[in-house]
Symmetry: C2
Subunit: 345 residues, 2 copies
DNA sequence: AAATAGAATATTACCGATACCATTAAAAAA
DNA sequence: TTTTTTAATGGTATCGGTAATATTCTATTT
């Protein structure tokens, strides 16, 4: 006695109608006698009938599956980054409501360079794909060639609809905030340029400096992810700079920076103010509580879902979303890691 | 000009062989003339043929998809929890290597109570399912009835194979550690009992107290997740307890506790030592760096994958994994949030 | 050269649903 | 009542693969 699944035919036979009638009724077609409808529904329930999604997908060419593509790498794992896990959670919740499921896919840096499509795409399981911070235009175009609908999250591009963060604006706000508190000399802490988002933050920051007629010649420490952040930070300190505030590309780096500064005997924020970007759930819990730029990840996820679903429906004839970019606004969250500068005020 | 996909028939026609020959050759069957093999391979490449995974899944009844089931709730989102995101990342990486993909599924608490199967299961997309900390035996059994292979992560059970954490052992180690540092009075900080894991930690902790002939009557503060942790913690402090060390069910709660204690004017760790459980990536960055119990999440993910794949292969006839439990060992990571007790030493 | 074994390839049926078109039954109009 | 229209239902082909079985072809044996 293996598993025996009930099919449409079983239901049809038992109910004494044709298979297609059962199919239509179960899908909610109204063009049937109430008697037949209730008979079929009852019979289906009795037999414990469950439509076979694979068969349906096969026939209709609609899988009800959206791929979620993240970049994977040895040293640093986007999926494991808390910023993204919140995002993913939002995507899942909202897509389920629309009867879609999420299929996870990882691509390595090498895959991207060699234009290697992930297996979930090759196999044709996905009706559409949402990418997380995949920043290679050519790769996105190739994806689009394979999947029909692609939406990019956390990277602004012209070749597919995208949802991005107002990094420039966030950097600008942080710049103003620090200047307002009396800081005049700054440093940046970043990771090796993922997707230029960090670059935008710093451009915005510099714009604030320009506005205040301050030197935009800001020293930059570029850290690797996994480890080896210390050298970059130490180098920053030992090259004779006299900054009083550091703007970090994200909250995680800010925490690292705070630890390193303290290891060097500096007090944060008394000697150096440190700010982050993202406002992770835990950033309010750090000590000092982190001054940062809040990003509405929920809104990001929701917009991404709306974009991808909208772009699915459009059978070439309806609205074209290509190049449509939604920029999520940000908000400065002043807390305790950035304080007025005693030296320059 | 819509999308035209090349099928086996197209390749077969162009190569002048039968469809099934193409199918077999592309799947690597050796029983063919080398000439035919290379001809078919060449033709397939020329036409850019990609096997249709849905059609194949339909025919073979093998989807190559593993479901990942997490509990979802308004106030607290497991998917968004960093502990799990690392786990998920590991699962994904390892499953891809075995040519499987991950389909994400969420279940609410209500779903579990009402034995409502998630859509990814109902639809029959999954060959197997890995659950994350779903702690209802009856629900797991029902799942197993629907999917064939189920493996539970972060919850120990007898009804399906499971991978769990040595919570008891971890609690025990932490107890010993604190006692060794001179602490005699303790408190627990936990969340409303998810899955009894937290309970095991505290049982282990108490066992260490018993070993040292200390009172096991430890006050407990039970916090909600999202917010409202303050009241529970304040209540703990204002009921005349005189503990010097607090063992928290996880690192996140430990951070919350530290903040609350400080808000009440207490110093951590000078006045109160605080310890967590999990060793999140960021826990070494907090100040003070968190003393905690390290859980090898990578090992958890790897074992889960091995279990689920092994249990897929077993067509009832081979090994039966039911009730097999793998317990992941833990390790005490002493850092700066637990220090020797000045009062009692 | 005929018989036979084994390797290579082909035929056919089928997985479970839906699309499309045809048909029948019931209601409305003549 | 007969015809026409409309609602309800049925028949058949089909999506793109693979399993099982049948057939051809090649090589070996006698």
């Amino acid at each position: 006695m293996e598993k025996k699944v009930t099919t449409l035919d079983d239901v049809a036979k038992k109910a004494g109608v044709s298979r297609i009638t059962v199919s239509r009724i179960l899908r909610g077609s109204p063009n049937h006698r109430p008697r037949t409808i209730s008979l079929v529904n009852r019979t289906a329930k009795e037999l414990g009938y469950r439509p076979n999604a694979i068969a349906r997908a096969f026939r209709t060419n609609k899988t009800g599956v959206i791929g979620l593509l993240v970049q994977r790498s040895k040293e640093h794992d986007l999926l494991g980054e808390i910023f993204y896990s919140t995002l993913i959670s939002t995507l899942e919740t909202r897509l389920i409501q629309k009867d879609y499921s999420i299929l996870l896919g990882g691509v390595s840096y090498e895959d991207i360079i060699s234009r290697q499509m992930p297996s979930i795409v090759q196999q044709g399981y996905c009706e559409g794909v949402v990418t997380l911070r995949i920043d290679d235009d050519e790769y996105l175009r190739e994806l689009n060639r394979n999947v029909g609908s692609v939406v990019t999250l956390d990277f602004k591009t012209q070749c597919v609809p995208s949802v991005s963060v107002a990094h420039y604006r966030g950097g600008f706000q942080m710049g103003r905030h620090m200047i307002q508190l009396g800081h005049r000399k700054f440093a940046f802490l970043t990771a090796p340029n993922p997707s230029g988002n960090f670059g935008s933050s710093f451009d915005g920051f510099r714009a604030a400096l320009a506005e205040a007629d301050l030197s935009q010649d800001v020293p930059v420490a570029s850290c690797n992810w996994a480890s080896a952040q210390q050298p970059a930070i130490q180098r920053l300190m030992t090259t004779g700079h006299d900054f009083t505030a550091v703007f970090c590309a994200n909250d995680y780096l800010a925490l690292v920076a705070i630890r390193e500064f303290r290891n060097m005997g500096l007090r944060v924020p008394e000697d150096i103010s440190v700010a982050g970007f993202d406002d992770l759930e835990t950033s309010i819990l750090s000590s000092p509580a982190l001054t940062t730029i809040r990003v509405d990840r929920k809104a990001m996820g929701e917009h991404a879902v709306d974009l991808i679903l909208g772009s699915l429906k459009s059978d070439r004839k309806s609205k074209d979303y290509t190049g449509l970019n939604i920029e999520i606004p940000v908000e400065l969250i002043p807390r305790d890691s950035v304080i007025p500068n005693k030296r320059n005020v």
